[in-house]
Symmetry: C3
Subunit: 471 residues, 3 copies
């Protein structure tokens, strides 16, 4: 098989109809110079705080990105082939893993992984070769050579990407030392904000919960012997996050329910959990109550809530046991928002300090629940299409399903939610192209004036995420 040269078309991902495409191209050009706002993601803060060079192409581009590895696993390869669970890779391991990816490159056809990865190669590393068995080593070498240069250090990339803000996702007990170092570093001009992710502390029947809460007590300096202390400890950690620049909290449980318990019952269940005697049903009730408490705290401290429910984590048990979490075996389940959020929204839905962004992997709630909620409650924003849905056709379905009931103003703007730092520009570029095409379609059908379309696209890229995440 001869080498295939990558030559990304300037009109890629724009609608095929020539008239619509022409409008979309103009719209896209108009936002080309705007910064990237990344209000939710998983890049480690210490990369930027310490600005250490990346070690090798595989550890940077492949191993941590379960978008890539899951598709290759589905084709029959072991995850370890790609370095997953292998710890730091030798050069030999890294190269072998990279070869294994390139040799199976056909399986990513039609997926956004293909688009993001090839965009990285061309735009970032200047390597215009499609991955294949024949090109793997050349690509590896070129990327490795680039990574050895100053221009590919994390801070240089942050600047090159045009990032205005980058959010991390952090454990409530995290001291946020890397964030502090960045804050206190006079040579650093970017903005990296932590995100408060308390899931593990709210699931009281989970193995290890008691130890985690002990630690929460230590770290916060608050006595967590009873429920009131536990709540105060969480409040203290939120304050710590706010002091380090946090703008939001993140919550990902099986369901989105927010039913409150009366205080005595919450205390009773907490005490049972501390004794290791809470049932699964009780723990679920307590978790739902605590999510509602998070909303109450948001009214006070202003942190935006983001909800990412409806994922069956670690679906394939043997894979979890061997490789741990976040390796591609999380599978979505149906989500319900209308009934689930009613207790929370009846209490806080019109509170001036409260904002909540609703994400979903269950597209059925776009038009049925999220858009109607965001189109009534001033506090509710429709989160961008997330995870499996941050792809061209899925983004189009999202816009088509959300806009007619909620307009553009109540959508969050694109969220990359990625562990793959170098894919951030490609992901935002893809989203901008699809949004430009969607808005151009409205213009072509005379549903929006062209001048307005420019304003809408500008808002989607910068105004909306700033507003939804209080940036």
């Amino acid at each position: 098989m001869p080498d295939v040269t990558l030559a990304p078309h300037p009109d890629r991902l724009l609608p095929a109809d020539p008239g619509v495409r022409a409008i979309a191209r103009g719209l896209l050009d108009s936002v080309a110079g705007l910064p990237i706002i990344s209000p939710h993601g998983h890049v480690p803060a210490h990369w930027l705080a310490d600005d250490v060079p990346f070690t090798d192409p595989t550890s940077l581009l492949i191993t941590p990105d379960h978008y890539v590895t899951r598709l290759l696993h589905a084709d029959g390869a072991e995850l370890s082939t790609f370095g997953v669970g292998e710890g730091p890779l030798t050069e030999q391991q890294a190269r072998a893993a990279f070869r294994a990816v390139c040799a199976r490159w056909d399986v990513v056809r039609g997926t956004p992984v293909r688009l993001w990865f090839e965009a990285q190669l061309v735009d970032l590393f200047g390597v215009a070769l499609r991955p294949s068995a024949g090109t793997a080593d050349r690509i590896y070498d070129a990327v490795a050579a680039a990574l050895a240069t100053e221009a590919f250090r994390p801070r240089a990339l942050y600047a090159r990407f045009g990032l205005e803000v980058l959010a991390t996702t952090d454990d409530p007990c995290d001291d946020l030392a890397a964030h502090a170092r960045l804050r206190d570093d006079p040579t650093w001009t970017g903005r990296v904000v932590p995100t408060f992710r308390p899931d593990r502390y709210l699931e009281t029947a989970r193995d290890g919960w008691n130890a985690d809460v002990d630690r929460l007590g230590e770290v916060s300096g608050v006595e967590v012997g009873d429920y009131a202390g536990f709540v105060r400890a969480l409040e203290a950690r939120r304050a710590h996050f706010v002091a380090h620049g946090a703008v939001s909290t993140d919550h990902s449980h099986r369901d989105a329910r927010t039913d409150p318990l009366d205080p005595a019952e919450a205390s009773r269940l907490y005490a049972a959990a501390r004794r290791g005697q809470v049932t699964v049903t009780e723990a679920t009730a307590l978790r739902r109550h605590l999510v509602g408490e998070m909303a109450r705290m948001s009214c006070d401290d202003g942190l935006v809530m983001t909800l990412h429910p409806g994922v069956w984590r670690d679906h394939h048990r043997p894979t979890y046991e061997r490789y741990g979490a976040d390796v591609g075996t999380d599978i979505p389940v149906a989500v319900e928002y209308t009934d689930a959020l009613r207790p929370m929204l009846s209490r806080y839905g019109t509170h001036p300090g409260f904002q909540v962004v609703l994400f979903t992997l269950d597209e059925t709630v776009f038009s049925r629940e999220i858009a109607p909620l965001a189109g009534f409650y001033p506090s509710v924003y429709a989160g961008a299409p997330w995870w499996f849905l941050d792809a061209p056709d899925a983004i189009r379905r999202y816009r088509a399903a959300i806009t007619e009931s909620a307009g553009f103003a109540k959508t969050s703007g694109f969220v990359d939610d990625t562990r793959a730092f170098c894919s951030i520009p490609a992901r935002h570029d893809l989203a901008r192209r699809i949004d430009a095409g969607f808005v151009a379609g409205l213009v072509a059908e005379h549903r929006l004036d062209e001048e307005e379309a420019y304003a809408v696209l500008h808002d989607l890229v910068v105004t909306n995420p700033r507003k939804a995440f209080k940036l």
Copy 2:
């Protein structure tokens, strides 16, 4: 910001592809002269019976239309800003509310509210100005001036709109006096039909149910002391509606179940409800039984059933407590039809006198349940996309999801379901345009001959609603 002149494009809402658009334009032109059939809606009959002039632009166009006010509320405004819950408005209040709407006009971009409202301004009132802070007063004045003329009295508008029939939605105890006045008025040549909406009488655990049933007994002249009497009273009121021209009943409960109870159990639960001792579970069982009874009655009296399930009414409790129902805080929930309707359809689904039109706000049932049901049962019609779904992209999804399993013949035709009288032509025009575009797409892909496409579009506009609603 300079004024923006509204110049609705003749091809608005038609597909962007030039070839498809040309076909669609021809189709659209072919139905331009057809009447509007509005078999389900919420315009008060007394407007037409009494033909009193409308008071002011806000009370007519804004305050009663929760499609508009909910979006502005989502942007952070109080509903009272727009006159909701304020009673009759002074000229000063009406003008201030109108200004508040115009100043926030950007938030309706991309929604059908924008299209309907601007179409009203241009086509009905001759005001070719986009709402904005700068144009609000001029628009208000022009509309107010128009409303003061004879040409904008309700009956003149009814004629101008080309309405063939307009349905109201009415309480079973309503005396339908306005309908009677219209029927007996020799100068009235239109057709306004009542719709029997018994929801409140079927929810036996509801506050106030007993008082409502007492009144039902008085109005019907039937003793409602026991279950059999209650059923006879409902039958009597249905007969009253039939005598006043009703063609359909309307039902909107949380779910669509129709499980029958045996007569003794129904009697027992009714008696418990009359004593105020029915549980919520029992009341739900009785309501499901009673919906099935409505189907039985429809076989006898010929009234078409329409089902509009799956809405969480008054989701934001504080808004309901301050402003009451129907102000934009109703949020959809998932619906199930296949299992829910089986008891009813096994009994009455092939009865020659029975027809039922299924509406949904949960799009997932379009292809999964409604189209298969309408594609087998002669009695079942797929209701037009409703409420949050009566918008361009949603109507396209509806047609794409329904047609392949149920064809065109088993769809109800467009239903505007509106409280906003002046928006009726714009709503039907939007639906005709989208349907023309959909059918044109089939022609362009050689899935339908062009001659047939003309017949199909004609049917969708007039034949189908006449048949589905027995008009």
Copy 3:
């Protein structure tokens, strides 16, 4: 009404946009000569084994095809009108039924039934007349004349259709004699494979289950007095199927759950079922366990599992009582796969011998569950859009919903699943056209190179079904 000449356009079903269409046309041409692979369907094997001529147009084209008769029933006709439940038809009955279909032909506009049926008339029978009251007799006569010729015997049609393999669906107790005759016939060069469909044996609370199991014991020669024997009997029949060329098993229960029971509990429930004392809840638990057992057996004998859950069979009870099963009154219900398959996939999901193809009538699981599962588990394939969904717009939705998370490689290829033998080429042609259009759209948007698009379409037509069904 004048006759309408059928002139199928060479570009039918390709996208309307001229640029995309040109790409699609090239793709379509490239697969025109490829064989048809039909790995799941309902054509009887004895038709081909015995090669007996078809009797009349109605018995071949109308009566057994519930896709056709259900739509005419929905228009108000009795199923008996079309020969359903009437047994062998006289010439007079057959002609009258055919006339009744043609007279109501307008109701199939917009459905794939129309496209398939007319394609059969033109391409297979050479009858270029649209069905109508006026053309019914001429079409009937022309088709009847063709059926009397050698060229329309089953084996001749098999060859003419370019079938590479045709699967039947068979009861575990079936002796597969027709398959054996074909296997042993030196003049037969095709491939007809049986499919093991054990549903009735796994539903232990079903009327007649005990008698069926008695027969299973007799046919297998295995004592089925206890649970272990029952399992061995099923294994024996699977071996019998494998020996007759089977490549897959088929399972269609209300849900897709696979929760295992411990052996003692399974034995206890089986014993209760044999005594006729199993409850519905127990029977459901045992059935879910047994579906998991089928997966275990698949790891051993290599038969591919296909799951077709989520249908309410015989929804209209009176129709079932009069006409029996499979006459168009099966209605889909919602399906859940993520949680339901977890027990099975945690055990067997990465077993090298295991493959499972997931079908659905509930489109919501395409992007939410099936694509994520197929994009992680090497054993899982996304089944082609099935039954109500094997139509142009539904196939497009399927590709758009599946591809971005699972790519093309993990999709099964088209499955016609039909009882209407003569419609097989038309069904596969429709699917190829829609897939060509979808892939062309990716090329037009520069999401796939054109050379790759040719490879993808080739794979979808032949490579994928061969791989998914181990052909």
